[in-house]
């Protein structure tokens, strides 16, 4: 219910459209009742051969009511739909806003295909919330209220029947079916999400599936999923159809009772026969509006589920402690210190980083080396405040990072991750992320610097950079980082997919540009580290050695051994 109230809040941003929808809805409903009842009266009157002018008046009233009814119906539809779709649009944006601070940890919990299904599909479902759940009952109640009042002028018993009929068709039957619906536990949404997830995964893992000949298997799984989805849809559709038919029948029965009772009253002389047709027509018309109410339950349930699922995604509390954060500007390269930092990934018993302390002085160049899984990247994710340490502190220029906004940390850092995302678009689009007002020349130069000069800025980049090789993606990411030109560099194995020549060329460029900057390079290779100010060696989440290249070689510790392995591998059989 809490989730629904969030939706209502977004909905109420469109107040004017809501009022207009209700207003026009009521007018349309009342004029329709008026139209048919007056035509029933007209024909009865005509049978009694009245003077012609009464007839003319009646005919004009019928016409007028008809025109008003049609126009109001148009107004009602227009405003209610506009309100709905504006609401949907607001909802998407507000969902994104809530989602944004949760990234990237969110992707550990939800698959992206599922997220897509949620936001697109579930938001679509919520369009029924206003159109079929929120405002129709209001309109219906107002129309019935007026109609019953009007009817009571002619016959109180008939008015009572209408009142009972109203309760039956708009409250009793929908509630009964709502209970039924809960039992059925419509899982259409869930099945849809499931199918969408499997499909997305199928498309992403296509090559591996193909080679492992699992395409057929996965195809069958998806076929099953698709079957289950449409079976649920079918079940849901039939359930809804049944309630609708039930309601239609019930409203026909009410009119039937009206006819019977009114007819009886006429024979006993308690009602003028001329109103018989009028009353029956009123009943038939006013109940025409109730059959959609049968679907109320299922739409309500759908909306509730959709709202709940959307809510579940964004419900996770932001991990940031409530501390006043300040914007910081670093003109000069800042120093970074990490003191006794310990961290374990949520849901994992093994700590990824244990009691890690390090000092990165302003303008220093540090290499962090060690086997994969030793905690190198984790340390950097903590610095970027993607995760918060379980214990210990991280400071920039002596100030704890909890006190600094994430944005100011990121603004001052050039980051190249192991996996870098590229957006569907052009090379230019992807480079322009780095900074505003970049000229084409600057961007072309950046491409040249990373040996991507053969690309034109207008070349297409496919989703996730699928049309780029691993090395090209890394180089493009480096070009992007270099264009950003911030005073801190975090490079996480930025050249692992490059050949040696390109790698050395690119490192030269980076170090040239980062001359005065604080740079941290994570690497699994040990070549070219001779000129680093310090090298940190990590294993199993711990810092085990630290020093310059020469110092570490002299010490003959872990680094020395790694270097020996590397040498033996590289030199073996080389003959040079």
């Amino acid at each position: 219910m809490r989730d629904i109230s969030v939706i209502i809040k977004v909905l109420l941003m469109e107040k004017k459209d809501i009022y207009l929808s209700v207003l026009f809805g009521v007018i349309a409903g009342l004029t329709a009742v008026g139209l048919f009842s007056s035509s029933g009266y007209l024909i009865s009157k005509a049978a009694l051969a009245p003077p012609i002018y009464t007839l003319m008046i009646l005919v004009s009233i019928v016409k007028l009511l008809g025109i008003i009814s049609a126009l109001s119906r148009y107004g009602e539809r227009f405003f209610s739909h506009r309100a709905t779709f504006t609401m949907l649009s607001n909802l998407r944006v507000s969902f994104y806003e809530k989602l944004e601070p949760l990234a990237p940890r969110l992707f550990h919990r939800f698959r992206s295909g599922d997220l897509l299904a949620r936001i697109v599909g579930d938001v679509e479902t919520l369009q029924n919330f206003f159109l079929r759940v929120f405002y129709p009952p209001i309109v219906l109640a107002l129309v019935f209220f007026c109609t019953i009042l009007f009817t009571s002028v002619f016959s109180v018993p008939v008015a009572l029947i209408l009142l009972i009929g109203f309760f039956l068709t708009t409250i009793v039957v929908p509630v009964l079916f709502a209970i039924g619906q809960r039992k059925v536990k419509s899982s259409v949404r869930k099945q849809r999400g499931d199918l969408s997830t499997k499909l997305t995964e199928f498309l992403y893992g296509f090559r591996d599936l193909k080679i492992y000949q699992q395409l057929q298997v996965k195809e069958n799984v998806i076929d099953q999923s698709s079957l289950a989805y449409s079976r649920e849809q079918e079940r849901n559709g039939i359930h809804q159809l049944f309630s609708e038919s039930m309601n239609t029948f019930l409203s026909l029965v009410v009119s039937w009772v009206v006819l019977g009772v009114a007819a009886y009253l006429v024979t006993t002389g308690q009602l003028n026969g001329i109103f018989l047709a009028l009353l029956v027509m009123i009943s038939l018309t006013v109940f025409e509006n109730t059959s959609p109410m049968a679907a109320f339950a299922s739409h309500f349930e759908d909306s509730r589920q959709a709202a709940e699922r959307l809510g579940a995604v964004v419900s996770e509390k932001s991990f940031d402690k409530k501390i006043q954060k300040i914007e910081q500007n670093y003109d000069k390269a800042p120093s970074i210190t990490m003191e006794n930092v310990t961290f374990g990934f949520p849901g994992e018993s093994r700590a990824a980083l244990k009691d890690f302390s390090a000092v990165f002085p302003s303008g220093s160049k540090t290499a962090i080396v060690g086997p994969s899984g030793s905690g190198k990247s984790t340390a950097m994710q903590l610095f970027l405040n993607i995760y918060s340490p379980d214990a210990g502190s991280i400071n920039i220029n002596g100030q704890p990072i909890e006190q600094i906004t994430n944005e100011s940390i990121w603004k001052h850092t050039n980051v190249v991750l192991q996996e870098n995302h590229f957006f569907y678009g052009t090379i230019k689009d992807n480079l322009l992320l780095a900074k505003d007002n970049l000229t084409d020349q600057e961007m072309e130069l950046a491409l040249e610097n990373v040996k991507l000069g053969h690309f034109s800025l207008d070349d297409e980049v496919l989703e996730k950079g699928e049309n780029l090789s691993g090395g090209e993606k890394q180089r493009l990411a480096i070009a992007r980082a270099m264009l950003k030109n911030a005073p801190i560099w975090i490079l996480d194995e930025p050249t692992s997919s490059m050949d040696a020549l390109t790698e050395s060329h690119i490192y030269q460029r980076i170090f040239q540009q980062a001359k005065d900057d604080t740079l941290i390079l994570i690497s699994h290779k040990l070549t070219g580290l001779e000129k680093m100010d310090q090298i940190m060696v990590m294993e199993n989440g711990k810092l085990i050695e630290k020093g310059t290249f020469d110092e570490l070689m002299k010490e003959q510790g872990y680094f020395y051994k790694m270097k020996q392995i590397e040498k033996s591998v590289f030199l073996a059989g080389n003959g040079s």
């Binding site: 024909i43 009865s44 051969a49 012609i52 007839l55 005919v59 009814s69 049609a70 119906r73 148009y74 539809r77 227009f78 739909h81 949907l88 649009s89 998407r92 990234a103 550990h108 698959r111 992206s112 897509l116 697109v120 599909g121 969408s196 997305t200 199928f202 296509f206 080679i211 000949q213 195809e219 076929d223 449409s230 849809q233 159809l241 038919s245 039937w256 019977g260 007819a263 009886y264 026969g273 018989l276 994992e348 093994r350 086997p371 899984g373 030793s374 944005e407 980051v415 996996e419 995302h421 699928e466 090209e472 997919s497 040696a500 020549l501 390109t502 070549t527 591998v569 590289f570 040079s576």
Partner: protein, 576 residues
Amino acid sequence: MATLKDLASKQKSKIFSLVIIAVLSGLSIILQAYLFVVIVDLIFLKQEPFSEVLSLLIGLLGVMFARTLFQYTSGRIGIKMASKVKNDVRKALLHKFSNNPILASTKGQSGQKVSVMMDAVDEIDSYFSSYIPQVIQASIIPLMILIYIFTQHWMTAVIIVITAPFIPIFMMIIGFQTKDKAEQQLDKMAAFSGKFLDTLQGLTTLKLYGRSNEKKKEIEKSSLDFRDATMEVLKIAFSNSLALEFISMLSIGLIALEVAIRLIIFQDISFFIGFLMLVLAPEFYTKLKDLGSAFHTGRSSMGAAKKIQHELAEEQQAVTWGNERLPTDQPPKISLKNAGFYYGEATFSLKQIDVEINPYEQVAIVGRTGSGKTTLLHLIAGLLPLAEGEIEVNGRPLSSYRENDWYDRLSYISQDPYLFSGTIAENIAIGTQMNATRQEIEDAARQAGISDLFESLENGYDTPIGEAGRGLSGGEKQRTAIARAFLKKPSIILFDEPTTGLDLETERILQASIKKLAKHSTIITVAHRLHTIQHADKILFMENGQVLAVGTHEELLQTVTSYRQMVEEQQGGALH
């Protein structure tokens, strides 16, 4: 794919039942009106006692029940039809996706493909669940009513015959417009889905570059575009029904006027006939109006169907396979004869590849980034279609063998292996078609040097990985892929930069493992690190999509200058 109409005509028996039900519905509508009027007439004008109409009232209740029942049955058949068609279409789409060569699978955003299969397919639902039943009802019931009216009061029938044709004409004019708009709307929807998925996945990058606000605005715009497109379609639908409303109102007004004049001035018809005409005429127009709204949804379904058809009809260069068996006794001899491949309109291509690969040979493909190494590997793997030349396996074209036989003998370890959502054990077992025991899986992991990590996890090999599970680093993913290969025991292994992101110790384990694998298979490696190729029997040195030189490491060192440069860089310092 067949058009929607063809799909519908496949379900002949259901269509036939719909026709029967429509006839029965028509009868019950006429009967209901007749009974209503008779009862009112008897009570109001003939002033009969209530007991006279009691049996008629009971009859009326029966007719009402029948009418509701027919309506329900008709809707139910429609839902069933839609369900079946949706399944068939999804199956066809999925089949198409899974038969695409690798190239097509990366083309376009996966989000858009998911959207076609989810949203567009759901969109065709209404064609079957409401359009077809409505069309059948609308072409039968009004005709029945018209015939009955004609037998009772021919003048009313004449008025109807004159005015009614305007309704379908209007609908068609407006309907065709709707179709184009509906397509636009689907385009917007697909664009929105694609943009959203892309943005979600790149959220980390966006945040690091401080761009998530801008993307939010893009989403907002995309979302509003979507709303406007939807409103465009709806506005047409609403004015459509407004026009229909006016036409039918005008006609009913004419009928009422004519009846009234007859009743009062000429006095040549009875109240019974007059009232009957007034009750039946709206029924006639309501059915036609129902067709109007159904026509609209039918049209938008056709827009969606076109989209699906477009996806299904897309041309693709498929890799062709034959029926010959591939002997399993030893690795086959692979010869590339003047083989070539073009990347669509892009400038990149592979040309004139002439290489012989003998059984058990270890081949390394070396070259600068972007020289075509990975593409060559794809070509040999049979993932890409040849544009020219031939790949021969044991002296016969690769295309003459069975696809399954080829992939049974082949393992491919890509730069970024895909992990499926599932446990670690399941991810390793995907390598083989056989049911692997836990022991075999663990052995494979041990040989790939990743068993320590897996065993250290709380749930060991049952730990879920993949998009929703524990994240693995690049190196860990690759070792998982190598474990797959160990389990499969293939006779041809294709490695794409196998040492990327691995630490030296693991690399050493791997070298040993690969050596073990090499005893039973031909290994073709795309390598950046020279130590992996020093033992290669044959090195293909690539430049600009061509094989520049073939030879052993020593041979190339002596004869090819750029090759020697690369090796020197690898041994010396790469930085500064």
